[in-house]
Point group: C2
Chain length 108, copies 2
């Protein structure tokens, strides 16, 4: 099972509801080709959508999108992936420092 | 905090180790611009890399990649995302049917 990223153009101004409906059409037919669409992201301003999927081949991914009525313009087979670490959370200590009790007098 | 997908070209034949090293250079400098690179995928055959990040702006993402020494060719701000459901697992019942005891004689 390989992973794929495909790109669609022309999704300008598409809403979350419309995107869910479009992805739903892929999910409804994907099993016959052994494909699963895992995640879809959209830049509605440029109309560019990215679909991350797993499946047996680029052709299988292409077939599912074709059957769903929205052919992909580009499909890439992902040979390598790197997951970033969780973001570093830097606590804001400004407030803590301001409210820390001043014990200097006590330990004199 | 917004999400972004950016695309790099020219990563033909890049290995997992090399990709980790490249992403490591982003991770080392990202905090100064409030950016975090969450996931990177690579199609080493076409040399196309996709980076998913969160951050304050497209320009901030651009600055981090520039500082890391590998400018992105395209950056998209992701206004909508849809996560697919877990894949449907269809149990293979062929073997079960073949070994199921035949009790028809007993209940006659």
């Amino acid at each position: 099972m390989a992973k794929f990223m495909d790109i669609h153009n022309g999704f300008i101004g598409v809403t979350e509801l419309q995107l869910r409906e479009a992805v739903g059409r892929d999910l409804a037919v994907e099993a016959a080709d052994g494909v699963h669409f895992e995640h879809t992201w959209l830049d509605a301003e440029s109309g560019t959508a990215f679909c991350l999927s797993s499946g047996p081949s680029k052709e299988a991914v292409r077939r599912v999108h074709d059957k769903a009525g929205h052919p992909a313009q580009e499909i890439y087979e992902l040979s390598v992936e790197v997951e970033g670490p969780p973001p570093v959370v830097r606590p804001n200590l400004t407030g803590v420092a301001a409210t820390w009790p001043d014990t200097r007098e006590q330990i004199k």
